[in-house]
């Protein structure tokens, strides 16, 4: 698989439930970032976790990073219909090269 691959590819949950998305990568990274994209529009930065960090929180978002397994997870708690979007992880390596994964399409049913 390529750098920054997410799973699942698609996720459908009920409003109020938690959503967990995973990302795996292959090379050493400087940091890993999660982005959200609504239906082909611009990307919105959600959270950045550096390679020396293990967990980070921002509101209803929780990101973990395991550099030994080269994986990260994004947890959205108490999901809302407005969270419906595609979520991408992006790994940043030296030279400012950023590699995006294929994304997880999240659908939150009201």
């Amino acid at each position: 698989s390529q750098q920054g691959e997410e799973d699942p590819q698609a996720l459908s949950i009920q409003e109020g439930e938690n959503a967990t998305m995973n990302c795996s990568y292959k090379t050493s990274i400087n940091n890993l970032q999660w982005y959200r994209q609504n239906s082909g529009r611009g990307l919105v930065h959600l959270i950045l976790i550096r390679s020396n960090e293990r967990e980070k929180h921002s509101g209803r978002l929780r990101v973990t990073l395991d550099t030994s397994k080269k994986s990260s997870s994004l947890l959205i708690t108490a999901s809302r219909a407005a969270d419906t979007a595609s979520y991408f992880c992006a790994t940043v390596t030296g030279g400012f090269k950023t590699i995006f994964g294929a994304g997880t399409r999240l659908f939150v049913k009201a």
Binding site: N31, V44, H45, R50, F96, T98
Partner: protein
């Protein structure tokens, strides 16, 4: 809140024509990037730019592509001779330089949809 802007929002061109996509990064940012996203596919890195030179580029960024910062505010992507497969959404992004050369989040523009006929 400062934001990255891109013009035009939609560009239609004939195959073989040159196009220039424009971006105005956030004013105090020093790193600039171009990405593209073919419909239904993932976002692909094209190039990063710092201190008036390319820092890194992908395999996609061949001799048909070039970037420039012609003045203190604009950052442009030129495609010299467009192909049908260049049709995509092109995103510009910028990020700031932190102490200790720490990477920071990238702020994305709304994108330019390029359609090559």
């Amino acid at each position: 809140e400062p934001e990255v802007t891109q013009t035009p929002s939609h560009q239609v061109t004939q195959m073989g024509q040159e196009v220039i996509l424009r971006c105005v990064p956030i004013s105090n940012h020093l790193y600039f990037y171009w990405y593209r996203q073919i419909l239904g596919q993932k976002v692909e890195f094209l190039v990063s730019f710092y201190n008036n030179e390319i820092s890194e580029k992908s395999e996609i960024f061949d001799d048909q592509f070039s970037v420039e910062r012609p003045d203190g505010s604009n950052f442009t992507l030129k495609i010299r001779s467009t192909k049908l497969e260049d049709s995509a959404m092109y995103f510009c992004a910028s990020s700031e330089l932190l102490a200790g050369w720490t990477y920071n989040e990238q702020f994305f523009g709304p994108g330019t949809r390029l359609t090559v006929l």
